[in-house]
Amino acid sequence: MNAALIITGAAFAAALGLGLRARSGRQMGLEQWTVGGRGFGTALVFLLMAGEIYTTFTFLGGSGIAYGKGGPAYYILCYLTLGYVTSYWLLPPVWRYAKERGLYTQPDFFAAKYDSPALGMLVALVGIVALVPYLVLQFKGLGIIVATASYGAITPAAAVWIGAAAVTVYVVVSGVHGSAWTAALKDVGILFVVVFLGIYLPFHYFGGYEAMFQAIEARKPGFLALPADGQSPTWFATTTLLTALGAYMWPHTFGSLYTAREPRSFRRNAALLPLYQLINLFVFIIGFVAVVQVPGLTGPNVDLALFKVSLESFPPWFVGVIGATGVLTALVPGSMILIAGATLMANNIVRPLRPGMTDAATARLAKIFVPVMVLVCVGFTLSGGDTIVQLLLMGYNFVTQLFPCFLTSLMRRNPLDRRAAAAGILAGVGTVALTTLGGISLSAWPQLGPLRDVNVGVLALVVNLIVTVLAARLFQPVARAQAAE
């Protein structure tokens, strides 16, 4: 046992304690467990939304991308900021509609708007397929963190099992309440650690920011901007836009908006959350310090950049503090994803098939699905392979395919019916799967000129839109005729 491991373990214990405490005095029905009784104020909604966005991906992945790719990493700073801008207008009508109808999940929204439980099932399936790799990523991060903090005493595999067990217990006992309170603890932690490292490291090693960036520019000219080919400005703009549209289409993000007490929370957060994005600036800086201090990491190992540079710079107890923060960045989003995934399975896939199922029975079933989903994800995590990276890339592009029919459903008169919506989603998701699994990208056609750097997800969205419009044209006369009869 060393100091790092003890501090990291204490973070686990504190998270569990907070989760148990948050439960006390509340009946955990479906509404409390999944959407916190719709009673969260601006501050808690802020924490939840910020909480599920600052994941181990930000912590390890963000610094890893800055380390490995340089300039292209900047898109992480941008896409959520643009997502928040749209949230100002998109979230309040969704919240009002969800409250009127007593909705719990994202597929509930689609099913109600399009009056079709089958469409709800399709949306739920898309969501679950997108969520699994996201959760696997959290478990992988947890494995890296605990193994590093123990200085190798605990193997990554054992760490993944310990983490998975902790998340399961935590989610089953406290539901979304535990997530909000642990999110508070986590956000204090990540703010402190990332801002401290982002200021201390460059001054310690280089004497300042400009000196550090100059050292990188001397070593790798142009690394801190976008390359002319590949991840060019065209790639940057299309990727940022695509991921911004998808930002609120993730089932767990969509689900967290139901927890608000009043829609003004979202409008306030639309102004506050962009500032919070600046944390990413410090995350990038940590990755950039590592470019000079711990060069040579390649492939998936770039995610170790933050820890490698910390191990070189700090005593074990401080590595423990970093590890503790890392554990929380995996637990909070992990628990949100689990709650969303388990609720999706119980409420939107099983429930429509078994009419007459009560809320209480659905809540019980959702809690049974939690360990099932954990086991599936632990399996994926330990079996490893590149497939999961492909799945994650697909996940982002999958959820964006829900955006067109989501947007039209907010219009006073939705021009689409359920068949057009389903056709569009299926076409878009199919295109994403084909292009990702087939390794197809537009760069194969040089005659496209600068357009060849367009993110291939744009192609899927275009196919989605074309099929949606065609299907709407095809079905609308039928619908009108039926209405006239």
Binding site: C78, Y88, E217, A225, L241, R267, L281
Partner: protein
């Protein structure tokens, strides 16, 4: 003051269009490479614009409750 909401288009213009014009490392602005400094400026501007939109939006003037 509802026309102020169109200011929300500026962050999109700045972040999606800016990299085409400002894709350079030097000069360093406040110690940051030019492109990164521009994007950070855009993020801060977004927050300020959304705050302005929030405070001038009549929807937010009504008392707390069901709106």
């Amino acid at each position: 003051m509802r026309h102020l909401r169109w200011l929300a288009a500026l962050p999109f213009l700045g972040m999606l269009g800016g990299p085409f014009v400002l894709n350079r490392v030097e000069p360093f602005i406040l110690g940051l490479p030019l492109l990164l400094a521009w994007l950070v400026f855009c993020v801060v501007l977004t927050s300020a614009l959304m705050a302005l939109i929030y405070f001038t939006d009549p929807e937010n003037r009504e008392p707390e409750g069901e709106r």
